[in-house]
């Protein structure tokens, strides 16, 4: 039976954060949330038929956004029920929902668990009020701490929090404090990102005019290396470039992306990867509604990779993980002579210390992780 992951995009927030380039609209009225949910249901129905997915086994579901925690628990339950009409849920299914601290409380957390969500990803970003304000977050540091206390007490088998670093005038001491705060709550899973600003976000201009206020690449590298060491000493595995987990708490939904697994994405701006094709839905909410209403597919972009692109992408995605990539995996999917070239490249990078080779397995060294972009470019050739 076909096995896949499902991503559900919820494109609404209380307000837009100043660094965020995900598709989201600042609408909190339930009416529009429900209207949107109905539209997505339509889309799911069509795509299941179109892609012949009926009866497929879902190994993970991810409700991302936006702020999906604006949904009422019963709405979330309805979504999960609706999915059960089309798919079988694997017995070990991972159902993650992103939550923002200001939109949930103890009761809501427990209700979400009751309707089937078994993993929460808490959008913390920072414990420092100055940085929360800078990022334009809706939550205060008190709300953040409150919710994390609830998470510790709750019965969730897994949960995660996000942190952002490389913020303006962020000292090493401040960064140490952030990591120490994290360790107070000991989340099973943790994502660490450096602030990356797309030209579309309000903070981009700020960064453009004040590049000097951000930590230098040297400092960033140092912050990241320090955090990695500290977290590893505390029992976390650095299992992907920007993700850390206690043993067994890795995010299976995301691992599926990095292992070039198939997934169905629904909702505004969601991507799917099915049968070798990458497809993207429209990024405009208005357009999405119009298309669904007219019975038109919301897909506005589609690509099917050339074999050489696919091979490079496959290696690059796998190299993001600590597992890395094995020769035998490649041999099951690609022609030997195509692989040879890439292996030579991996071999060369391992001689230079950017990649570690263990038997037939290749993975990024700590030095390699910091310059992963450059390594990936080498592999693209």
């Amino acid at each position: 039976m076909k096995q896949l992951s499902l991503y559900f995009h919820f494109p609404f927030c209380l307000k837009r954060c100043r660094y965020c380039d995900f598709v989201s609209y600042p609408r909190r009225d339930r009416y529009i949330h429900l209207k949107y949910k109905e539209a997505v249901f339509q889309e799911i129905g069509w795509k299941v038929e179109e892609e012949n997915l009926r009866g497929a086994k879902l190994s993970t579901i991810y409700l991302g956004g936006g702020t999906p925690s604006l949904l009422f628990p019963e709405d979330v339950g309805e979504i999960l029920d609706y999915l059960q009409h089309f798919f079988t849920f694997s017995s070990s299914i991972e159902i993650t929902m992103e939550v923002n601290p200001e939109t949930v409380n103890e009761k809501k957390i427990n209700s979400l668990q009751k309707v089937g969500v078994n993993r929460l990803s808490v959008g913390v970003q920072s414990f420092n009020p100055r940085f929360l304000r800078f990022l334009g977050r809706s939550s205060s540091s008190e709300q953040v701490k409150d919710i994390l206390l609830q998470m510790e007490k709750s019965g969730y088998c897994s949960w995660s929090l996000d942190l952002i670093y490389s913020l303006p005038w962020q000292s090493f001491g401040e960064w140490q404090k952030e990591i120490e705060q994290v360790l107070v709550y000991r989340p099973p899973h943790l994502s660490i990102y450096n602030l990356t600003l797309s030209p579309l976000v309000p903070l981009y201009q700020f960064a453009k005019y004040h590049p000097g206020v951000f930590p230098s690449p040297e400092e960033e590298a140092f912050y990241f290396e320090w955090a990695t060491e500290k977290l590893e000493r505390e029992g976390y595995r650095h299992y992907e470039i920007s993700n850390f987990a206690q043993p067994g708490a890795e995010c299976h939904h995301n691992l599926n992306y990095w292992k070039e697994g198939e997934y169905l994405g629904v909702g505004v701006s969601a991507w799917s990867y099915l049968g070798g094709k990458r497809q993207k839905n429209t990024s405009s909410l208005k357009n999405y509604f119009q298309r669904i209403k007219k019975g038109k597919t919301p897909i506005t972009f589609q690509e099917e990779l050339e074999p050489y692109q696919k091979l490079a992408e496959d290696i690059i995605l796998h190299l993001r993980t600590k597992e890395g990539i094995t020769v035998s995996y490649l041999l099951t999917r690609y022609e030997r002579e195509k692989i040879e070239v890439k292996l030579k490249c991996l071999e060369y990078l391992s001689q230079e210390g950017f990649i570690i080779r263990e038997g037939e397995r290749f993975y990024l060294s700590n030095k390699g992780i910091l310059v992963a972009n450059q390594i990936f470019q080498e592999i693209l050739d």
Binding site: P217, S269, R278
Partner: protein, 600 residues
């Protein structure tokens, strides 16, 4: 055709003083171009010319003008001339086809160095000068001052000035009448020979090179044979015609007339600006005087950004050469940049424009190396070398003597910037010659300067120091002794071809140091540490290091990011491919261009 009703004239002006707009108005008043078809600056046919507001190639248009005061119709041949010093040979040839010129001066800017140079050129050719003060409707216009300055440079009073605004059309009728009144009809000597001057040419892929000519004596007709004086090759005339401004066939071109000849000419050397056309069966005893083969003064190499474009680059240079006799090129090879062409130009603008035309008209992206001059080196063995590129420069121990080209630079500037401009000239090894006050506020300064010193940023510096008010003009005056060294740049201990440069000994150390600190900024940090060194003949004079890249990582990459990130990586990868690899190091083209801009 009644020869007395012909007027051949050109327009000379400093850049931006409104020459092309004035030409437009003249065409318009003569009805040559219907108003609705009138694009701004009709004569500037090349897109590049329109954008930069300058004329690169000379052109000619024949229009009919009915003079209301005389009640008669005249044929006017307007011969447009390039406005820049680099093209002064072309200007002189264009002027040779005229009897008079309109000397256009901007009423607010006044006289500039180029106005002066061109005016003197016109005087030396015995042309009638009609001064035109343009842009009189600008709030900053000071026509009185401009007129006084023109009188000062021409050394004459009571000139027949016309005050116009080419933009609004004010004064144009008056100017037209003056053209007819003051510019004489072509002088024609009765002669049994055919002599016609080539003052420009265009290339047409079907009809070959088409010379633009002014017939001095005799007549050219379809069906006859013509011969080029310099190559002695003959061609059958397929068509003769005039510019209206579109090409229009006519039966014949007689003495004093201006037009074009189609004669199936497919080699550049058979259609050289300045050459004389005569008849093979009854050749004139001598050509029209003044023809010279122009010698390029400034050299640089062009390399295609993409290796595959090499043959297209060659083709585009050949095509450009067809109507630009002053452009020369030969094959060149650089370890860093691959195969390319070493090209010779009249000056910096000529170089710039050639590069832009290659990129724009032929779609070939090129890397240009530093512009340089030809040095003369006398070796200890007694050989005289023409050193065109840093690569040909001998080892210091082999050199007996060296010399470099000098120019005489004329700069006009408002008096308040005199100090700064003189400092600039001194710092560029300039030798002061003289200084003349053109008016109370305007000074003409003359220096002898090594040509190499003005190739880099002299013009920009001059403009900056004088807040844009100074203008310059220069003329080659010959070779003089010099003390020079070659500075090499080593990247990870390998000499990088294309980064070397020849420098006067006195500032080689400073320039080497300056260049590598710029390279340090321009070469991106890479996976490996990079050392940069500047050296003279094996002796290291400066060093900088670029540490290895510490961090370059795509932070998050989930389902929706994969395609975007892959495209981003592919794009970055493409960018890297365009860089030149020296060992493990990739050097971006900006680094090579930095040698060009290296400040002193």
């Amino acid at each position: 055709m009644d020869r007395n009703k012909i007027r051949n004239f050109g327009i000379i002006a400093h850049i931006d003083h409104g020459k092309s707009t004035l030409a437009d108005r003249i065409l318009e008043i003569c009805g040559a171009v219907p108003k609705e078809k009138m694009k701004e600056q009709f004569l500037d046919r090349m897109e590049l010319e329109r954008e930069r507001g300058i004329t690169i190639k000379a052109k000619a248009v024949r229009v009919e003008y009915f003079s209301p005061s005389r009640g008669e119709k005249y044929i006017l041949n307007l011969i447009d001339t390039p406005g820049h010093v680099d093209f002064s040979y072309e200007v002189s040839r264009s002027l040779a086809a005229c009897e008079g010129v309109l000397l256009v001066v901007d009423a607010s800017q006044g006289v500039e160095a180029q106005t002066l140079a061109h005016a003197h050129l016109a005087i030396s050719q015995g042309l009638v000068i009609l001064p035109v003060i343009n842009k009189i409707d600008l709030p900053s216009a000071n026509p009185e001052r401009a007129m006084r300055e023109v009188e000062a440079i021409l050394g004459e009073e009571h000139l027949p000035f016309t005050l116009v605004s080419a933009k609004s059309g004010t004064g144009i009728e008056e100017l037209m009448e003056k053209i007819v009144q003051f510019i004489p009809p072509p002088r024609v000597e009765d002669s049994p020979f055919l002599r016609a001057l080539i003052f420009d040419a265009v290339y047409d892929s079907y009809r070959g090179a088409i010379p633009f000519i002014r017939v001095k004596e005799g007549e050219i007709k379809k069906g006859m044979e013509i011969m080029m004086f310099s190559t002695r090759r003959s061609f059958p005339v397929l068509e003769v015609g005039v510019f209206t401004p579109e090409m229009k066939e006519v039966n014949s071109l007689g003495p004093g007339e201006v037009g074009y000849v189609v004669a199936n000419i497919h080699h550049l050397e058979d259609s050289q600006v300045g050459d004389t056309i005569t008849s093979p069966s009854f050749p004139a005893p001598s050509p029209i005087p003044g023809y010279k083969k122009v010698k390029p003064l400034v050299f640089c190499s062009f390399y295609p950004v993409n290796y595959e474009d090499y043959s297209r680059l060659k083709e585009s240079l050949e095509r450009l050469q067809l109507n630009d006799a002053s452009l020369s090129f030969e094959t060149d090879f650089s370890e860093a940049l691959g195969f390319g062409f070493r090209c010779g130009f009249l000056g910096l603008l000529h170089m710039d424009i050639t590069q832009e035309r290659i990129e724009r008209e032929f779609g070939v992206e090129v890397v240009a190396t530093a512009p340089h001059v030809v040095y003369h080196v006398l070796t200890k063995k007694g050989e005289i070398l023409e050193v065109r590129s840093p690569r040909d420069f001998p080892f210091p121990s082999e050199i007996e003597e060296m010399e470099e080209p000098y120019v005489e630079m004329s700069i006009t500037l408002p008096t308040e910037y005199l100090g700064g401009v003189m400092d600039l000239c001194q710092s560029r090894r300039g030798i002061f010659k003289d200084m003349v006050y053109l008016s109370e506020h305007l000074v003409l300064l003359r220096y002898d300067l090594p040509l190499a010193e003005i190739l880099l940023d002299f013009y920009d510096r001059l403009k900056a120091i004088s807040r844009g008010y100074a203008s310059l003009e220069y003329e080659f005056v010959g070779y003089r002794p010099a003390k020079l060294v070659r500075v090499d740049i080593l990247v990870n201990r390998e000499i990088v071809d294309g980064l070397s440069f020849i420098s006067p000994e006195e500032n080689a150390y400073y320039r080497g140091k300056e260049l590598i600190s710029r390279l340090r900024e321009l070469i991106p940090r890479q996976l490996f540490p990079i050392s940069l060194q500047a050296a003279i003949g094996g002796k290291i004079i400066a060093r900088e290091d670029i540490p290895a890249l510490r961090k370059d990582v795509l932070q998050k990459c989930y389902g929706g990011d994969i395609t975007r990130k892959r495209k981003l990586l592919e794009k970055q990868k493409e960018g890297k491919k365009r860089m030149k690899a020296v060992g493990k190091v990739r050097i971006p083209q900006e680094a090579f261009l930095a040698v060009m801009k290296s400040e002193k």
